[in-house]
């Protein structure tokens, strides 16, 4: 086809405003088919997908909110428990302190009693021993003094009866003297 044919064709047959009936038919039917597919398949699926996403997001938000609430409740519970435990600990500590003080007091009392008891016993023992010592001394001192005096006076005082009398006299005097000292 050479250039003149183009011009002829342009001049003769083609007005861009005049439609080709086939085009109207194909476009009309084609669009109807497309619209049918969109209505039946595409639009519902996209709407469904959109709905699903909205549901999922809203569900997720709700879930998160519930979890948050639960966490807050648990926290409050823990805090209450902690407070309770602290009070309990304080109470126990206070009790222990007073109990300790009580125990200390008891021990002190007991120790004092024991000390008193021991010192009393010692006192008693001492006085008993003293008495024993005294009576033993009375015997021993008599014999010793007699022996000593006999050595000094020697033969002059061989008369036993007289010597016994002198010794008894001396010891009685001694005893009388001691009693006078104890009563003072």
């Amino acid at each position: 086809m050479n250039s003149t044919d183009f011009i002829l064709a342009a001049g003769e047959s083609v007005n861009p405003l005049m439609p080709n009936p086939w085009e109207i038919l194909v476009t009309g039917v084609g669009f109807a088919v497309l619209l049918f597919i969109v209505i039946k398949v595409i639009a519902p699926k996209f709407e469904q997908s959109y709905e699903d996403r909205v549901t999922a997001i809203e569900g997720g938000l709700e879930k998160a909110e519930a979890a948050q609430k639960e966490a807050e409740e648990t926290l409050a519970q823990y805090k209450a428990q902690l407070l309770e435990a602290r009070t309990e600990a304080n109470r126990i500590r206070e009790e222990a302190r007073s109990e300790g003080a009580q125990i200390l007091e008891d021990l002190k009392t007991k120790a004092t009693d024991e000390a008193t008891r021991i010192s009393e016993q010692a006192q008693r023992q001492i006085s008993a021993e003293r008495t024993a010592a005294l009576s033993s001394l009375r015997t021993d001192v008599g014999a010793l003094a007699t022996e000593l005096a006999s050595k000094i006076v020697d033969e002059a005082l061989k008369d036993d009866a007289r010597a016994q009398r002198v010794v008894d006299q001396f010891l009685n005097d001694l005893e009388a003297q001691q009693n006078a000292g104890a009563s003072n």
Binding site: S3, T4, F6, I7, A9, A10, G11, S13, V14, N15, P16, L17, M18, P19, N20, P21, W22, E23, I24, L25, V26, T27, G28, G30, F31, V33, L34, L35, I37, V38, I39, V41, I42, A43, K45, F46, E47, Q48, S49, Y50, D52, R53, A56
Partner: protein, 270 residues
Amino acid sequence: MFAFALPMASEEGGFVPPTVSDTHLPEIFPWMAEYGTGFGKQMLMIVLSIVLISWFFTAAIKNPKLVPGKMQYLAESGYAFVRNGIGRDIIGEKNFRPWIPLLFATFFFVLLNNLFGAIPFLQLPSFSHAGSAYAMAIIIYGTWIAVGLKNHGIRYFKLAVTPAGVSPVMLILLVPLEIISNFIVRPLTHSLRLMATMLAGHIIVMLAASGARHLIVVQESLALNGVGVLVIAGSVAMYFLELLIMVLQAFVFTLLTAIYIQGALEADAH
């Protein structure tokens, strides 16, 4: 009759501008009709667009995930753009749901067919052919009137042509204007706006291509060859402008569809 550049065809080898008839490619089934009136490439592209749109959006949403993949995200973004950006914003929260499929199909049908003009080898915006644009406009026109009649009965014709709050004297003047504007001019502008922008874009591309070819291949002068290269560079810029216009016209066509439907749904509020 539609010469877009002054023909210089007087002497052999001169530049012959492409014409509108070049947008009508030879018939694929030539026995069906005379040249320019039969079943051709443009109609195959219409069918192809329907297959592509159906396939893409069905495949993208076949196994919808809560966290979408790339394809699902792209498809959902497109769907949400028409659903919320055009449908909900124009028709309103209350009534827009039944109209989502119509707006969705209209937008992507027009968009893809326009974009065919920017794809090599296809390189023909389907709506540069008046028949397709008329068909779409008729469908929308019929839908619009049907919605008006369904919602308001026969009274809709009165509502559509009498603006509220206007004195009776002015009505005498306005009613004929409204009749012409709504029932005659509206479908024509709706279709011709789309068809004319697509045809103009297509012719610019053809003109640039054939002009550049003529300047580079046919002309002997080196300077004119250089100008041919400049034409190619300019046509690249035009290509991107066309791309923008293709998307914009698909949007405008769908937006107007939504506005017409909204007007029919809420005619008493006007």
